[in-house]
Symmetry: D2
Subunit: 392 residues, 4 copies
């Protein structure tokens, strides 16, 4: 049953900013919105270039008057409509997240924003305050937290099945920047190579924040401090493409993080292992439907999405039966599904399923920026321990 | 770019029959139609029970006048509308496929039909002739052929990279019927336990046809003969839930097939291995983004969806970059994507991308029924070799 | 503690026949004998060619007077010595197993014989009778039954942990004969290509007997009947290099077997899966230290050699702690270890550890030959069911 | 062919110190010596307790006069014999390695010593000088370097197949100390819990040195500096059982190391990944016969021990054909095999196969101690970078 249709009598109206031609993440957001039929994409400002953006919007079937040339036009245009958008999804270059999200909140919209939340911690904290003041839903698309078996892992940790978490390792090993690119010599060609657009660290903003969130989400404790080594595997590159980081968590766990975009020949190897007093968990995004559960004094067991022994948190995030793989797109869509439930709950005044409210928020986004800034500071100071605690 | 929107100025209008409350495959079809935005589900007859079907349709957001109580009502109602459906998707009990599909073709609709095509070979052959006469698209949802790495495997075989195929093994190992069910004693509770509704063999119709199609699709040769053992792992069960079959292919390959619904504790292990003179391929649906390529005189290589070394057939079926897993739903949606391309081509008179036209057809569906009937005949005759050749 | 040294005050004296220059299995037997220090190889007739055999024996450190030119010389020479051999290990061409083993038994020696036991069923039955009459230990080196996790699997089946076994699949997929060899044109170059030396089926004698024994050993029930397809993947080859076989077991299990030497690019993929009413087991020789245990209504667990939850049968066959892999050589040596225990028990009149007495015997060897002959008969008779029952 | 027997006309005479009742590593050394038949264990001092040691030696079949009560007795006794030992293998508590090895060298013996070499860097450096002065073979049993696929990895790096190494990660994840032990409260019960016997760090000495050596061996460059976090996962434990370490190598590679004995439910997960400009390698001890080779711009390939595409270094370390797994014991034995070749070369004055001379030496042992001491210093100094360069 489609709860949004039932409760509101219609789908949520979604506007999107960014994600036009050449974007990887744009189609992902739009498919995620469409998959479960809770949203209708009705307005778009897809590109910095107005003509490009409008043309692309038309090709997606957006009505001409809602195919905007800029995000400011979009917000203004939609504000004037009786059937204006309910939610704004932001997938622009990092530096634009803050002004767009702030304006959307000011206009009373709910917000879905890609990560990293901002390029500066103070902007992130500003958005935390703004979202709180506006009383709107604000989801940051740390999409890996949408995987059923990641939610299973978190639920098991929260239920104490592993005992106190003592150690963990998280990694995200990509290869797509393993060779020199034109932007290495001419950063203007790619916003990710320009600190002003991307933030202080390419690799940490791009995938380090994902790994950081995944670790905190599963271990169910914030990160307290880091000791970091940043660098580049490509000679002459001005931005960093690899990071090795030691981790100390608030709850006492210790660990390490390895992220890189420059591992020649690698796929997109996001993986995590956590160990507590009673056992450990291991999850790999490349085989996301399985979770290995090691147990003290017993043999490991292999939990499968849709199979026996799962928590309600995992079951809620599952669409298809055991053995039929779900993937990246379904996990991404789970965030959109949860956000819809949260918005419907606010609009109708009826409480949402609590399991729907565990999606990553603006505060999680801000913690990610604090993590990036602490790593950069540590690396500049001979790798010593640096706090990334954040009071929110 | 959405070619359907570009070419027709609108999405294809889809009607669905079957797939209502309690159905596994209904939501899969509808999500598949929605994922790439080429279809709009506008009419539905979701259940044998008219009231149930209409209520379910309304919950999906279907307009009340197009929430039909029966498939006959649906066909009649849509025929009368200027904006009537373009395509009918059929996901009822097996025995109903034939009359519904035949009526849809007679009305000039394109058809997407779940497998097995029919419960009797003569009905299947009748549909082959009807589809040919009607000059309409007729896709049978052997959905595993939608996986990019399955298409990669077929393309490699077709290109001769493995040399002539000499041997193969295919299997589909499920566990969901491993224990006695109420329908074992009272077949009326579940149409799959009634030969009149399901066809002569539960396990062969349900998943044997999938395995048969996958083997022929990848080996790129029809099956010539079988020697089969059918049986049940559950004492007292009247329908068979396991099959071991020896295979001889038209092109000279030999092999075996093992399918079961009653392997206690199993997931949905569809897998295939083929070997030719120059190497072999191995694919597992539970890790569908990888294809192991064994090579004569060289070490194996691991082809990854989205990665280097793939054929255009695999690339066309891929949405997301290397390392981000795609799954069952995306593969299913690839058939809908291809069908849309075929329909648009016919409607516009412009040729489709040839890569879009390799989806399973009504003829493939008929071959599946011939396979089932040959296995049943072989098993009844002491397991000797029995032809399943089909002239179409 | 070394029980042989403790009980006898010395190691067992081993003679070996066959396994000289160019042999794969010769060094395996000798290392297996040496690994646990229960045997001393003191006499050898390593080759059909007397000079070659003697030279090779000297190179292994055999005393010159015990480096024999033929097996008849060896038996005669050792019979004359006060310190003559206790045990004879036979690893010649298949056709020579019967006369050598029979003579060894007649001389009161214990026997370790490679598989297949003989080239004809009547010879195999003759050896069964001879071993019984001689009251000597007779082990046939179905070495895969020496793997700890194979013994674990058998023990779990015997304990009823899976319930009655309903279905299984076993396979042995090799690639070393995937291309034409000189012996394809001139069979005299390799005894395996000569039925008189090798037996009626190359692939069945070579590895089919291994797969057959493994299936019966784990399922704990003899094979009752087969329906077989034999053939060759290499055009023009006179002997068969692939076999697909349907299986019916005495205990009601059904299954299939696929063995081949001609799968281009394959390794040595011996693997088995069995399913009973309560669950299933899966084992792969290429990762022999793990056993996957699927459970009805529960998630799978992964048993590890040396880890928690193992049976005494598995623990007895284990030398090293969990996580440090053991392999082929250790499994092979487990048969030698068990045989030593059996011989010491007979010689000292003290009962052996019952767990040591579960090694494959001459009767198991004879069942293997009955399996081969039944497959050949079935394949010649259109693949129909053929009994391989054997009264012993 | 057994080169030692050929060259010397006899096996090497081996004495062993340590490894008596309760020892894990003692039987491993002795089996390793026996496996390829180059050694005969003729003298032993197996325990600190003279009576225990002598009794255990007799049970192994050692002659009574060579079943010694102490290592000093052993060295003295063997010095007096015409047939005295050639080689001494040391597997005592860590603190005893230095005096025993030094005395053995002084007596002209070749030495095989378990790791870590010593408990203090100055002792290690003293042994480096002593071995050099004595001109004797001195192998430290970093046994993982004996795995064929580890040697393959090193050879590929040395040949430049990966280009310059840019990043790596190595880990050794054990679970056997995941719960409090009696020695946690009473360190006297286990020498590993006493820094004076074990060295400054339990986990670094026990397995950190293995991981360190493996990384340097494969990356083919010494470690330059570390930034380390040490700790314990078991509350109240006085010695550390986990370490996360950032790594900078002499050749420019960066990386991280994670070792622990206290990961609840873990096996013995030693694994390494290295990435260079042209690709990466991945190896797991639990599946040691495979090496994953990722390639820039191409799909990964899976190298298999005994299979196509291997280097002579890997082939030399291989006993059995492709697909039949080798394990820990065989890898360990490869060091004994190499040491035998080195000793025979020195004794005969004929050069050894250069591939035999790549085993870990006393200098590698000393580098391991420098690594341990640098980690301890870094951890005490807020995790900052600390040099572990060693001039030898």
């Amino acid at each position: 049953m489609n709860h949004t249709l039932q409760a509101l009598g219609r789908r949520l109206r979604l506007g999107v900013v960014g994600g036009g031609p050449g974007s990887f993440i744009g189609p992902v957001h739009r498919s995620a919105a469409r998959l479960d039929d809770h949203y209708e994409v009705v307005a778009a400002a897809l590109s910095r270039d107005p003509a490009t953006g409008r043309r692309a919007a038309l090709e997606l079937g957006i009505q001409p008057e809602r195919a905007y040339g800029s995000w400011t036009d979009l917000l203004a245009g939609e504000a004037d409509r009786a059937d204006g958008i309910d939610v704004l999804a932001i997938m622009t270059a990092n530096a634009a997240h803050h002004p767009i999200a702030k304006a959307a909140l000011a206009q009373g919209l709910d917000v879905i924003c890609d990560k990293p939340l901002t390029t500066r911690l103070e902007d992130a904290q500003d958005l935390v305050r703004a979202a709180e003041a506006a009383e709107r839903v604000f989801c940051v698309t740390y999409n890996y937290s949408g995987y059923p078996m990641v939610r299973q892992a978190r639920a098991m940790v929260q239920a104490g099945e592993l005992g106190p978490i003592r150690q963990l390792q998280v990694e995200y090993i990509q290869g797509h920047l393993a060779t020199p690119t034109p932007a290495d010599r001419e950063p203007g060609l790619d916003w990710r190579f320009q600190p002003a657009e991307c933030g202080p660290s390419l690799v940490l903003g791009d995938i380090g924040t994902h790994a950081h969130h995944l670790a905190c989400f599963i271990a169910d404790q914030p990160l307290a401090a880091v000791a970091a080594e940043l660098g580049s595997a490509v000679p002459g590159r001005q931005v960093d493409d690899l990071a090795h980081v030691l981790l100390r968590f608030e709850g006492g766990a210790r660990g390490s993080l390895w992220v890189t975009n420059s591992a020649a020949g690698a796929e997109h190897g996001l993986a995590i292992r956590v160990f507590g007093e009673q056992g450990g968990l291991e999850w790999h995004q490349e085989q996301p439907n399985q979770l290995l559960h090691r147990r003290l004094g017993d043999c490991p067991r292999l939990l499968g999405r849709g199979g026996p022994g799962l928590t309600p948190a995992a079951e809620r995030a599952t669409r298809i039966v055991l053995g039929h793989p779900e993937g990246y797109q379904e996990a991404f869509a789970n965030l959109y599904l949860d956000v819809a439930a949260a918005i419907v709950a606010r609009r109708t005044g009826r409480p949402a399923d609590p399991l729907a409210l565990d999606f990553p928020t603006v505060a999680d986004g801000a913690r990610g920026i604090a993590f990036v800034e602490a790593c950069v500071a540590s690396a500049r100071a001979n790798g010593g321990w640096t706090s990334c605690r954040l009071e929110l």
